[in-house]
Point group: D2
Chain length 354, copies 4
């Protein structure tokens, strides 16, 4: 059995570490290149003694030529704006790319430049064609296109949880397009490994706080996909909150049902049908609600539906591990598809509980 | 200076412990009776060696006659249904009562019996008159009536945070009465000190989960007050979530503005005006959002407002300490008013940060 | 490839859940029986919706006859005293047993009855011969005997971490037999899934506390093995502490070097040599100290050594995951050996970091 | 009643914030100067909206002349090496100083320069006389000298907990001077508010790890005082560990009893006698062990003693809040004494539990 060769760029960040852990047990991929800027030239075990890698490689500067020499696929886990500097060179040399950043999540470069304006000021880009070409890597909804793609933009953690909950209802026109509220809660690992005061344990533990209220960048990413699914422009309310925990993400999604006669059982059946071919998405029985702990260390999304007959509100709960299904795991799903494998190959679906 | 004598019933639960801590520094109250069922007859320091009390008293069975002999005021921190067995006897003997349970929060006994149906089956009650007499102890909105009351029902933690955010806008008719969503997050201390599997550290840490989705008991409590303020029946969506932390409660409140031209600054000004005489409620500048950590160990509520001009949504953030402003602290505020003192007497407004 | 059939008894406790998660990815074992008393007759997904099992089995009452009909091996994860009621019946029917409880950890039944006196009062036992026959399942030191065993007593979590640190030095006579101090720290999952007040998140988080100071049961278990290795009776100081975290165990071991000229490098070399054939035990470079986070969700032990030339003290740090190497993972190692497989088969050595 | 005027230098760090919180309820002190380098010129509420201060002052650059103009006392909470630049100017102008850093904790400047060698390279110092003059602010043992002092060096958090446990036994010659082991555990707030990767919630939560094994700076600080008390040089083993919590510090102290006949009750009586005049130090009954949670947000130390008659080991448990008794609270105790007040004035002795 021939192994596909994978390069991981940004290996010491949380996205890179998580990808390496997931690939440690993967039956068909072999990591052949570890890239990093700051850690370039250092031996892996000196940087991260807790994650043993075969051969204890040295981290290298992410040069496209060097990468193309040893890898068929590359997964980029870099700060926003930096992937765009690397991707064209990789694609030219025949390396297929999964990018975990936001650089190729918008079909329009201009929209990226508007939403990520501070990054856009730092990094001049002219790859509008690649933005149009890139496939949005929401595996359950784009599997066929991902299989054919050279370049996949893995979705953000909040959009992943939110869209898995919303798309089935929007596609079928079952909810009002206006008035959707997504109240989301995430662990601090979503903020990355770079030291920031508000992510210190002393600050973030025993604390719950909203941030980016109105106008958080993921709003536009969610709206892009939601509008596409609904066939009409959607503007919704998205409010992220920082939780005192490392990993886990819960989106509590509120929307008005068009048909007030629909019950929670109806909606649950519909949701289950939408994901009947997706082993990584499970719908819980009505009345059982997901804890983020139930999906930690897994590539699984757990959904649950409730309806308030008094108000006509539909409530969809959507729990994922922000580091796995919300980032590295979904990235590996995309790699799997691009390598001709089933999407879940090598990915864990059971948590280490508790 | 004559000290008012206070009895604390349910002293070893979290509500009782928090009340005792708050009264430890109170200039005008003296705790003269510690009541408890299970711990009756035991010395305080054997039960709770971490909270030294003057004279190291013995916990007593909560007998109304004994309480009335030594106390002017009583604060009850008992499971739902039990206060109703004690209150009539205390009032008859001239002891004024603040009850932290839900027993007297509804004006109608029948509604209590419907919402708290399992408790109602255990405890036959016929004190509908006391339900009508009891004052709902939301201090910022009921100060005058509390001052005159014999019996005050301290609000629940979720209603406190939610109503502080909503009432100013409902009173002035600035938001649509339909479509209100309250997405609330609370620490595990809200579940009490009795051991339950889902509140174990091993279960509840590194976990965020919703519960009581549609139909949580606090929904009706919030709606009772919201309807009163709006002058029309309000039905809203309330979803509580359990957070991996001990104390703190955040309500994220979504409502549609009637006048889409209102800005966040307008709404913030209005909110600040509503609480200009309430030293325990502060409105943060627009763009600054409260962390529950900012109000821990305080009787303060921190509010912040944002408006999304695209969707016309008003978002109000409301953070309290569920054990203080959400329970024992608000109870002490009520005791203060009933004793003729300023509401904030002896109550902390600054957190031990971090 | 023929799969070995394994029964898990006590499936819904933390030890059982962890074993099931580990076996979910095991290439040579198949779980054919789920046993439990309280949960008997219930469908697995109703009990633990977060851990999907193939076929969604029903939990059964742990009857030896039924177990022997479908399983070659059984892993028991039961409260102390209960395994002894089940083991004889299983062995008679040819089922090999790994017991995670303390019931067979002492070579002498009388000593067990002394140390576990309260359990001994509840459960009359007469299986002194099985106590003598049982092999202590510390894999790195008893591999050959475990391979031949019918009955293996998996070590306690504290003894595992402590003995991995101590045995190499005791065997070689490098440390003084008197004056050894083991200061140990464990997560709350060690206390099990049954609800207890002191393990509530509200109680155990933001808290560090010692317990069982002088005379904790694991002291005698450690001393039994330490004495055997030293060839003389060892009496040592063992103090466990409860940490505000779910999983992870660190033993900080202090001992006086006999030869004051030995350096940290000398001791580190010796330790590495002792475990050179043990892929699950790694010795960190001198000056790098293990975090329990580095071994979470792994069956790995991380050791590190330091020497204070001023005082002649040797300090050995030993970190494990109390639920994996300290319990279920070591149990699976034993199952592997009893089934003729390499000890690490199917066991993870890399953490999901962070 | 005339209020003493206090300047707080380093107000936005954790030491400064904690001091301000403690002084918020102080009956005899008034904060008249807030000093800070980075935050100089900024309004307090913009920096720390969670801690309201009367008059919402502006933070100022810490100029000795300006400080002396408005303050009688100054409390410095600055990184090591920086206080020494400010103290001479303050003392010359008649301002009494409590310094929370290590700058004046050693009687010998040369020793400070050796232990804090990196700081010494940055900051040339020639104030050996002030090092000799400064009083070590361990209140329970130096009260008389602190009352007369111009300059007090508040002890480190680890030395405070360790010395409170050790000094009574060393003074009376009850324990062997050799072989003492201090295994200490602290929350992450001890690392300060500046962002560092290893103190991120994502890194430090669900993790226990040792650091500074052999040679941590606090070793020499503890030894200086221990030697003084014993009347002979003491060299001991001190190992700090980082805990997954914000605040709290536990020292588990092991020492050999000289008289093997001494019981835990004997030792507990002795300890209680040593602190009979210290309201902030309490000795728990034998068999009750302190949790750090029991002293959070208090200036209390909780001690407990156990003896292992088999090994002759004495074990002393010592729990404090590292931010209060281990830092700011002890600083305020010193300010109290220097202002002629009882040491505990204005300081909390009860925790906000849980």
């Amino acid at each position: 059995m021939v192994l596909q060769r994978v390069a991981i760029i940004g290996a010491s960040g949380y996205g890179g570490l998580q990808t390496l852990r997931l690939l440690a047990g993967h039956p068909r991929f072999e990591v052949t290149f570890l890239g990093g800027e700051r850690s370039s030239g250092k031996r892996w075990s000196d940087l991260n003694p807790f994650l043993p890698l075969p051969g204890d490689p040295v981290v290298q500067s992410p040069d496209p030529e060097a990468i193309a020499g040893v890898a068929d696929l590359a997964l980029l886990s870099l700060p926003n704006g930096l992937a765009a500097g690397l991707v064209p060179g990789l694609l030219e040399r025949g390396v297929k790319v999964v990018d975990l950043s936001a650089d190729y999540r918008y079909r329009s470069l201009a929209q990226w430049q508007e939403v990520y304006s501070s990054e856009a000021r730092e990094v001049p880009r002219s790859d509008a064609d690649l933005c149009r070409e890139a496939v949005y890597g929401l595996v359950e909804w784009e599997e066929a296109r991902i299989r054919q793609a050279r370049l996949v933009a893995a979705p953000g953690c909040f959009p992943t949880a939110s869209l898995l909950a919303l798309l089935p209802f929007l596609r079928q026109g079952l909810i009002e397009p206006a008035g959707i509220v997504i109240d989301a809660k995430t662990g601090t690992s979503g903020g990355g490994r770079a030291a920031k005061e508000h992510l210190l344990l002393a600050e973030a533990s025993e604390a719950v706080a909203p941030y980016g209220v109105v106008g958080h960048r993921h709003t536009s990413e969610i709206e892009q996909l939601a509008s596409q699914a609904a066939g009409q422009p959607i503007q919704l309310q998205f409010t992220p909150h920082l939780m005192p925990m490392v990993r886990g993400l819960l989106a509590t999604v509120y929307a008005r049902l068009r048909d007030p006669g629909l019950t929670a059982d109806d909606c649950s059946t519909l949701l289950a049908a939408a994901y009947r071919h997706s082993p990584g998405v499970a719908v819980l029985p009505v009345g059982t609600y997901p804890s983020t702990k139930w999906v930690r260390q897994t590539n699984r999304a757990l959904l649950s539906v409730q309806v308030d007959p008094r108000t006509g509100q539909l409530i969809v709960l959507s729990a994922i591990d922000n580091m796995v299904k919300g980032q590295a795991g979904q990235g590996v799903q995309c790699l799997n598809l691009m390598a001709g494998l089933p999407a879940e190959t090598g990915l864990p679906l059971s948590p280490f509980y508790p």
